[in-house]
């Protein structure tokens, strides 16, 4: 699905990430962890083409990112669902339309989608909030709305950046359950988090690999968790 090969990235100063290789295979479940500022968000951005590596190679679904133009990147986003740490929405449109936005943008909005949309909103527990505007949502509701938006196109990969960053434990459990369900449906999942409790909870439900960024490199952790 997504392959990184000897990737390095620098924001101008020293290298933030260097000599980093990673393969996200179909149906895999990965956690990405590491201290704040270690480059978790940067790595995720490299994975969906928002950043281009300063050296090395990133391949999205087999194509080299450095040779993809802006439209090709945009089209690849339709196969990758992204949940951000601070989820952003179109604040003037209700939740239901925000969740359906990827369909509208892809020109795949069809009259029959309302039923699917209702099911999806029920799945993330937002049925009663469908007509609310995003600024009226709580932190947890925003995260779940972002997750619904990320999966409405039935993407092959879901990337989540601190999806439980500003919600309580119970809510983070619910979000994790949703992501695990997606993984069981065959989606590739990568979650960046520094919440070790969450990782432990996930390991009980799913075969998850834990990657840790330290000293600008990626290490496989897991045995110690």
């Amino acid at each position: 699905m997504i392959e990184l090969e000897n990737v390095a990235y620098s924001y101008g100063g020293g290298e933030l990430l260097s000599d980093l290789s990673l393969q996200l295979g179909a149906g895999s479940f990965h956690f990405l962890t590491g201290p704040s500022g270690a480059g978790k968000t940067t790595l995720l951005k490299l994975c969906y083409g928002a950043l281009r590596p300063t050296s090395g190679q990133v391949r999205l679904f087999g194509s080299d990112v450095t040779h993809m133009d802006r439209d090709a990147i945009a089209l690849s986003r339709r196969r990758v669902g992204v949940v951000h740490q601070d989820c952003q929405f179109l604040d003037h449109l209700p939740v239901a339309e925000n969740v359906a936005l990827p369909l509208a943008v892809a020109g795949q909005a069809v009259p029959g989608q309302d039923e699917n949309l209702r099911e999806l909103l029920a799945w993330v527990g937002l049925t009663g909030r469908a007509m609310a505007l995003p600024p009226e949502l709580s932190g947890g509701e925003r995260q779940r709305a972002a997750l619904a938006r990320a999966v409405i196109m039935s993407p092959e990969v879901v990337l989540a950046d601190e999806p439980t960053g500003n919600v309580d434990w119970e809510m983070s459990q619910r979000l994790l359950t949703l992501l695990v369900e997606l993984n069981r449906m065959g989606k590739t999942i990568l979650i960046a988090t520094h919440d070790l409790q969450l990782i432990r909870a996930a390991k009980a439900q799913v075969q998850a690999r834990v990657l840790r960024i330290s000293n600008r490199r990626l290490q496989t952790a897991g045995a110690d968790l």
Partner: protein, 301 residues
């Protein structure tokens, strides 16, 4: 974003969902409408001025160029003889199509605006005027002057060139200035729409980031803005043009007796020219927004 027929079809048809992704902005929308209307109004006047000046230059150039005047000042007893001699001489001159002495009534009509209707022309030493119409080739004014001097001592040839040339030049320059004004107005509309579009793109940075995240192509994002600004410019310019045309219609008509002062307005098919202002304003807005959107979006990740 290319100027292809498909783009225009998509623009005309519109996409309700795409229109909704950019939040409505009441104040800047009204400003854009207002500026487009004001510029269209001014453009109609610039065009009217330009076309009227063009008509002036043409009429002064063509009609007056082919006419000249011979003025005969002579003692009362010799007037008739000198006039007949001048007429005879003019008829023999190559390049003169016709020559005709003005009647007393005609001369009185010419003087009437200055001296009033009751002027007894006959009792005044008014010179006799002879109207000379040239053929297309024209005559040689220097040669004619010499021969008149020799045969009709009281005759003076006035070929109008002295005062006609600067007037024609002024009218032609006015015509040019009118077109330059119209061009400047179009450029101003472009600049204004570019500024407004840049402001809108900057104000909607979050909208663009969200659209980009969920897989929107640049064309989709740009179209949402381009369509909005094109429609605003079209609507505003249509209103401004309509007001401008009404204002031109309400201008007091230049009366026929005013002679060379043609009315400031449109004649015949020239009425179609101001109707081009709204589509042109829309085209300028389309291009300006598309370029601004491409520049802003190209700078994003």
């Amino acid at each position: 974003m290319k100027l292809s027929p498909a783009t225009f079809r998509a623009l005309a048809k519109g996409d309700k969902a795409a229109d909704r992704v950019v939040p409505p902005t009441g104040f800047t929308a009204r400003l854009t409408l207002f500026v487009a209307a004001a510029m269209a109004f001014l453009a109609v006047f610039a065009l009217a001025l330009s076309l009227a000046a063009g008509r002036l230059a043409a009429s002064w150039g063509d009609e007056l160029a082919r006419a000249s005047t011979v003025r005969i000042s002579a003692p009362e007893g010799q007037m008739a003889a000198q006039t007949a001699a001048a007429l005879r001489l003019l008829e023999q001159t190559t390049g003169v199509a016709s020559a005709r002495a003005l009647s007393e009534a005609e001369q009185q009509a010419l003087l009437e605006p200055w001296f009033g209707p009751d002027l007894p022309v006959a009792s005044l030493p008014v010179p006799q005027l002879i109207e000379v119409i040239e053929t297309e080739q024209g005559y040689d004014p220097a040669g004619l002057r010499l021969r008149l001097q020799a045969e009709v001592p009281g005759a003076v040839l006035d070929d109008h060139a002295r005062w006609r040339k600067p007037l024609v030049a002024a009218a032609a320059r006015l015509n040019l200035l009118g077109w330059v004004s119209a061009l400047l107005i179009a450029a101003t509309v472009g600049a204004m729409v570019t500024l407004a579009a840049n402001a809108a793109l900057a104000a909607n940075a979050q909208v663009i980031a969200v659209l980009r995240l969920v897989g929107a192509t640049d064309i989709y994002i740009a179209r949402a803005f381009v369509r909005r600004f094109t429609l605003r410019a079209l609507t505003g310019a249509a209103a401004g043009t309509a007001l401008g045309i009404v204002a031109v219609l309400l201008m007091p008509a230049g009366s026929e007796t005013a002679g060379f002062l043609t009315g400031l307005g449109f004649r015949d098919w020239h009425w179609l020219i101001p109707l081009l202002v709204p589509p042109l304003a829309a085209a300028v807005a389309f291009i300006a927004t598309a370029v601004a959107a491409r520049r802003v979006l190209g700078g994003l990740s």
